[in-house]
């Protein structure tokens, strides 16, 4: 077991390095010195307080979407609709905040909004689980389609009833300061959403590994038939797992709207769903490891932005880095599996001879 864990950590690190090396080599095509670019990229992270804490600002929603993917993944379900669930969460967060901000005290509003966001995201997610349970509809397909539906729903609202009062752009009015998530570190953008994300990751770990409910989720994921034969209602768990998954992704909407952007804009964070998936894989679907993997992706994004300001590399370089890192992580999963197999065979040979 220990060797396995060591391999998986070692290979994940190697995979990240390999991904960065290969994408760095691409920089030679545009006559940039990769070493110099990476030096700027990583040193810029520590350039000032603001930039440094921005890593965690970026990581916050990613933790949520990665957890969203993970939670259903543990039940052997694929929720790739986190992007749409995030949009639903964002819409509800902004609509409820705008509606309540004048009427109730700020913290009170935040609490209500939080509950509403979780409920809305959960319901939006749970129908995917429901049609899977009831009609055996492929959840991969339905969750993917649900993102486009959510996106267009959001676009419609932004173009009509949620549109800013000056009526210029498909975006909402800014929120009152009273309903902002409070700042965590003064002089930076880091808000309490990050703490919520950390606690959520820990909570999800506890739920999965320390409660009967989480146990059943994992059992269904590892052997659905045996679980059902053991009296576990897999269909009910499908709906519940998707409810929680949807609520988690929607929570990212709350932290982004109330914590960071303080309004809703069309085309808001269009990649956090797929990045969340990548992070979940990098973290081997471990809620605690997700925190670190999210910080890495956050760092790549923040550093990449600064590097494109300072070193003049095109912004597509960030996607190149992320894509290659993900590919290498997948390859490293294969290597770990092979190493494990070889090790077992070696042991057997020794025992046999």
């Amino acid at each position: 077991m220990d060797e396995k864990l060591r391999d998986s950590v070692l290979f994940s690190i190697l995979a990240v390095i390999a991904g960065l090396l290969l994408s760095g080599a691409m920089l030679l095509f545009i006559d940039k010195n990769p070493i110099e670019v990476y030096r700027i990229l990583f040193s810029s992270l520590f350039r000032d307080k603001y930039t440094f804490f921005d890593i965690f600002v970026k990581a916050t929603p990613l933790i949520f979407t990665a957890l969203a993917f993970t939670f259903t993944y543990k039940a052997s379900l694929f929720n790739i609709g986190a992007q749409g669930q995030f949009y639903i969460g964002s819409v509800v967060a902004v609509a409820a905040s705008l509606f309540l901000q004048q009427r109730l005290p700020g913290l009170f509003v935040l609490a209500i909004v939080f509950v509403l966001v979780l409920a809305a995201g959960g319901i939006w997610g749970s129908w995917i689980g429901f049609v899977k349970a009831r009609y055996q509809a492929n959840e991969f397909l339905t969750s993917m389609m649900s993102t486009y539906v959510a996106l267009n729903f959001m676009n419609y609202l932004l173009r009509t009833i949620l549109k800013e009062t000056k009526g210029e752009y498909p975006q909402t009015n800014p929120l009152d300061k009273t309903v902002w998530l409070p700042k965590l570190v003064p002089g930076t953008r880091l808000h309490w959403g990050f703490v919520i994300a950390l606690l959520t990751a820990i909570l999800i770990w506890v739920v999965l590994y320390r409660t009967p409910f989480g146990f059943r989720i994992r059992a269904v994921g590892l052997n659905q038939r045996a679980s059902e034969m053991s009296g576990i209602n897999a269909k009910k768990l499908y709906v519940l797992a998707f409810f929680i998954s949807g609520a988690l992704a929607a929570a990212a909407g709350l932290t982004e709207v109330n914590g960071m952007q303080h309004m809703l804009i069309q085309g808001f964070n269009p990649t956090i769903g797929s990045e969340g998936l990548g992070i979940a894989i990098l973290a081997n679907a471990n809620p605690i490891a997700i925190i670190f993997a999210s910080a890495l992706f956050g760092a790549l994004r923040v550093g990449g932005l600064v590097a494109s300001q300072v070193a003049g590399i095109p912004p597509s370089f960030i996607e190149l880095m992320q894509g290659l890192v993900m590919i290498f992580v997948i390859l490293s999963n294969f290597c770990c599996g092979e190493l494990d197999r070889k090790r077992e065979i070696r042991k057997l040979r020794k025992a046999a001879s």
């Binding site: 590892l222 679980s227 053991s230 065979i345």
Partner: protein, 507 residues
Amino acid sequence: MTAFIELKNITKYFSHVVANQDVSFSIERGEVLALLGENGAGKSTVMKILYGLYRADAGEIFQNGKAAAIHSPRDAMNLGITMIQQHFSLVQAHSVTENIILGNVHGAIDREAADREVAALAAEHGFDIDPRARVGDLAVGVQQKVEILKAIYQKTRLLIMDEPTAVLTPQESDQLMKFVKNFTSQGNSVVFITHKLQEVMAVADRIIVMRNGMVSGNLRKADTDARELSRLMIGRELTNAAQVKTERAGGEVRLALDRVSVSDHGAVPSLADVSFEIHAGEVFGIAGVSGNGQQELCEVICGALTPVSGSIRLDGRAIETLNIHERVKRGIGYVPSNRHRDGLVMNMTMAENMLLKTSFDPRWLKNGFIDRKRLDAVSEKAIADYRIKASGPAAILRTLSGGNQQKVIVAREVDIGEKLIIFDQPTRGLDLGAIDNVHKIIRAERAKGKAILLVSTELTEILGLSDRYTVLYKGRLQGIYDRSALTVEEIGLLMAGYQLKEGGAHG
């Protein structure tokens, strides 16, 4: 004269087991070779290597004295070798013809011509098969004929059959044996993989016995007997499953099924009008060829299936509408025949598997979380009580041997089944020591006054353990008998669907 096929020093490792070690033997022209051994002895593996499905880690294969490079089944087929897998390799959704010509045609397919060709081939060998029938709709015995036709279609000279009679009635088995004799009389060879001694004695010319991945005997049938073979197979003398004399338990009726029917897909009922009672302190046996409704019977009692009609009572109370979870609470334990699929989560720990069926039970909770101390203690106790070879409660179940996995499930179900325990094929794939162990447990639980439903395809097991038994054929009971009421031949007829009194074919 050189052998048709010769295997030399074949060695194969799987990730958790040594499947074959230094396996060497030959296959002659025109002979029926039996490959005998317990489950997991490495019989199938070595044949899959010969057929090119697996690649050996060491060793060589010769055909007619020449080294043969077999890297894929295609190579094997080119050498005239075909293998029929234990669970068949047919595409359920495709027609008989499509299955037979798969891999054996090139370019465009003239469907009508292919159908005609297959029909002619079937007629030639006396098989009654519609080439256009969907394989998934055919009975298992017929599916095997499709597999055989496929081999003949390829003009094979060596036919390897993996446990071919496991799914057949004794009468169907006889037909198969006739085909084998006929086939080998034309100079072809057959390898028969089996763990059944009687079969070996009936059909084989020569016997290779395997144990723990190694060849433990290579004998002509004429020179050996069942006693020697079983010794080679299990490593020690076989003691007859002693019929322990126990007085008939006179307990009250514990489980009562009354005209229970289960419909699978609406058409043919998988259980029809099944009625019987099991008393407290009684073992009730279900004999029959597998696939005749045994699994449905177990599942309808444990709650995984709902009957379309009839009632099930436990201690007089109707339970047919309760779900699995509620029946677990009422004390019904169930050891399923396919433990990997239905009873265990292989990638979880031993302790987590102990929790699987009772995760709703508040006794495992402490402040809303799983009480791991308690769970570990219970698991430790199971490890001690059942002598489970595991490093501890945290051992991943996959790393345990098959027998120890079975012990885990038995330990759990015995604990759950305070009233009734269902054992479906509880000894399948276990070594003799483990079989003994399971039998002991069944007797002990009986003695405690539990009702026990024992499903087995091994007649010796049924006859050795049951107080009363029945035979299940196509979802119907073929009468209920006391332990010593019938001869083995009579039971065989019942298993094949004949009624004893009328003597005519049933259904």
